[in-house]
């Protein structure tokens, strides 16, 4: 039994990492917005999805204009991801304007924003579906294959207890790009004044504005960054998995949100870690649960497994893995 699990480990790690970094970046979007508004932005998963579709549109446009064949793939990729990221970033800012800022002005209870975010989420899903269906007749969109060169990690010959593992070049791309994004963001938040302003706004908006901080601007920037990252991740997702539909955001959103909480919501490094860990856990469960339980439980229980681990973590560390316990001064 153990031998089986170990054999497969390299492949599980690779697959888990791929999914995990995607979770991680989307989780960061949740965590950033949460960190600043204490609001679970249910629409964020759909922002990610919209990013994927925007990427697809740009890609198809480039293809239609013949650039795809003419330019090196990596250049096409950069154009696509940058355009999609900026567009989704702006979308995020727009969502904030329409759905959250008016509520802030009216001093509405925090949870009411949950409703607008759910509303936005429905609207985005349906709009994207309309457009996709209008153009292609089916809302499941398959992107032209890119970066699908196959690599085999020849582990078996060196370490006989491992099986060989395979991956595509898109895996490397996803990994490199997300790591760049994560590091850049971490620097931005921890090393610039913006980061401190964000945290101050998060903790006490009124007082932050007394400190000459333009609260609305800080919030807009936060939404821009979070959404742009989400959109860029959408593009990565499209390239890695090839197929997207308007509901990928819903499914992935729940997971990413879970990852954000697992790491300690509001904490950016926590979200990164939570995402990767969730991806690995899920992949591990999907490929090993039935081996471990002798068939009593199969891959279909992978989410149960992930959620149980999450609950256990939170029971023992209620503030998430990276969150610091906030001792309330009484």
């Amino acid at each position: 039994m153990l031998a089986h699990i170990i054999q497969n480990l390299p492949q599980v790690l690779i697959d888990g990492l791929t999914l995990g970094v995607v979770y991680a970046v989307v989780a960061i979007g949740y965590t950033m917005v949460y960190g600043i508004l204490e609001l679970i932005n249910f629409a964020h998963g759909d922002v990610f999805m919209t990013g994927a579709f925007m990427g697809a549109i740009v890609l198809f446009l480039l293809m239609g204009m013949g650039f795809l064949a003419a330019l090196p793939a990596i250049l096409v990729f950069i154009i696509v991801i940058v355009i999609a990221a900026i567009a989704t970033g702006l979308l995020g800012v727009g969502i904030e304007r329409v759905a959250y800022r008016p509520l802030r002005k009216k001093n509405a209870p925090k949870l009411i924003a949950l409703i607008t975010s759910i509303g936005i989420s429905f609207v985005l899903e349906d709009l994207v579906r309309f457009i996709a269906e209008l153009k292609t007749g089916n809302y499941i969109v398959t992107a032209p294959p890119m970066f699908n060169h196959k690599f085999t990690l020849n582990l078996h010959s060196a370490l006989p207890f491992f099986n060989n593992a395979t991956f595509q070049s898109s895996f490397l791309l996803v990994l490199i790009v997300t790591i760049i994004m994560l590091i850049a963001l971490d620097l931005f938040v921890n090393k610039t004044k913006w980061g401190m302003a964000m945290r101050a706004v998060a903790q006490d908006r009124d007082t932050a504005s007394l400190m000459t901080i333009n609260v609305n601007r800080v919030i807009s920037v936060t939404f821009f960054i979070g959404s742009a990252l989400g959109g860029a991740t959408g593009v990565l997702f499209m390239i890695q998995y090839g197929t997207i539909d308007p509901y990928i955001g819903f499914v992935l959103g729940i997971k990413a949100f879970t990852a954000a909480v697992l790491g300690g919501i509001g904490n950016i490094r926590g979200a990164m870690f939570g995402g990767v860990m969730l991806g690995l856990l899920e992949m591990f469960a999907a490929s090993n649960l039935s081996i471990i339980t002798h068939g009593a439980m199969g891959a279909e229980y992978k989410d149960v497994f992930a959620f149980i681990i999450l609950i256990l973590v939170l029971i023992f560390k209620p503030e998430g893995l990276f969150g610091k316990a906030v001792v309330e001064k009484v």
Partner: protein, 370 residues
């Protein structure tokens, strides 16, 4: 208040239709609706002669059981609706048909294959396609006997349809002596199936079987190929769609599928149908277009009988239900229909297809009758 004022004073009879017009399998659902529409148009004259006007009341079940049930309520409460063409998905048909049955409303399904649909022996529930305990084992026979698969890995999507089919396949394959090296479930709506697939590939099976629909199936095919699995992959009627090819791309080569829908282009009658369909709606026929047409045909056949048996007056739902169930040797464009006491079609067939190239439709390999 019956809407008796149809055009030129004819009594209106409505036929309901429920299928997913939005959602992942909207293409198939729309095909059913359009097929039914065409059937009604084709026979409208006959009914007009008797003083009736037939209308189609088409609703979108969104592939969602709750929506299906809610719609079923709407249909049931409309007294002019005397029968329903539908559903595409077994998961929707099962709860919805509980409502139909409560209201004596006959349903004829063109596409639901799960065994439970008719095994409940509800007098109102009928279908014209094959059952999964025919389709699944047929696939297993082909996999084990023709493709010589000894080790099989089964994946299913945990829906009423997918797991029912996969179970039937598995049991028959086992019976035939194949070893089932894995039996795993996936989650509908996800895109990453690498976890299950790395387990599958590690077990080095001769064949991977998938019980489910193309949205996931296409990706499973693609990701299995990426993992270096080049053996045959097999599935059921859920993969019988052009979308499978779209999603899986080149990886679709070497995929086999069983379907309960025959290729209309094989017969002259079918070709004529396809042409007319194209002319009318500007679309190519999908696998279930003709089944929608035939399901509606069966209903109209029954309806006519009921009218005849009721002195040319508008029949009751009970009469229509009985008349439909008694339809025998109805000759449709794609299948002959004789309903048995459960509501299953004696003439239903299973077809086996193979994708030799990344092109839809695939090549027919076999046609199996009961």
């Amino acid at each position: 208040s019956p809407k008796s004022g149809g055009s030129n004073g004819k009594t209106v009879i409505e036929i309901g239709s429920q299928s997913p017009l939005s959602g992942g399998s909207a293409t198939l659902g729309d095909a059913i609706r359009l097929g039914a529409k065409l059937a009604i148009e084709d026979r409208q004259k006959e009914f007009e002669k008797k003083g009736f006007q037939i209308k189609l009341k088409d609703l979108d079940d969104q592939g969602d059981p709750k929506k299906g049930v809610a719609n079923a309520q709407i249909l049931a409460s409309d007294k002019d609706v005397l029968a329903v063409v539908g559903h595409l998905n077994s998961g929707v048909a099962i709860p919805s048909s509980e409502v139909y049955n409560k209201n004596n409303l006959a349903m004829v399904s063109p596409a639901t294959t799960a065994t439970v649909v008719t095994d409940r022996k509800l007098p109102t529930v009928n279908r014209i396609c094959a059952r999964d305990d025919f389709q699944g084992p047929a696939g297993a026979n082909f996999a084990v006997k023709t493709l010589k698969a000894k080790k099989i890995f089964v994946i299913q999507d945990k829906t009423a349809y997918g797991s029912g089919l996969a179970e039937q396949f598995r049991d028959q394959a086992k019976k035939l002596g194949a070893e089932i090296v894995g039996y795993e479930g996936i989650t509908v709506g996800e895109k990453d199936f690498n976890g299950v697939l790395s387990q599958a590939v590690a077990k080095k099976p001769d064949l991977i079987y998938f019980g489910g629909v193309y949205a996931e199936g296409g990706l499973i095919i693609k990701q299995a190929r990426q993992k270096g699995f080049d053996g045959p992959i097999m599935g059921g009627d859920g993969l019988d769609s052009s979308s499978t090819v779209q999603i899986a791309g080149d990886s679709v080569k070497g995929v086999y599928l069983t379907s309960v829908a025959g290729d209309v282009s094989k017969t002259e009658k079918g070709q004529a149908f396809a042409k007319k369909y194209k002319k009318e709606f500007g679309k190519n026929v999908e696998s279930y277009s003709a089944y929608g047409y035939d399901a509606a045909g069966v209903i109209l056949e029954g309806l006519m009988k009921a009218i005849d048996g009721n002195d040319d007056k508008k029949p009751t739902r009970e009469q229509v239900t009985k008349a439909i169930r008694s339809v025998q040797n109805y000759d449709g464009v794609t299948t002959k229909v004789s309903l048995d006491d459960k509501g299953d079609n004696k003439y239903a067939k299973v077809y086996i297809y193979n994708f030799a190239e990344a092109k839809y439709p695939p090549v027919q390999k076999a046609e199996i009758s009961q």
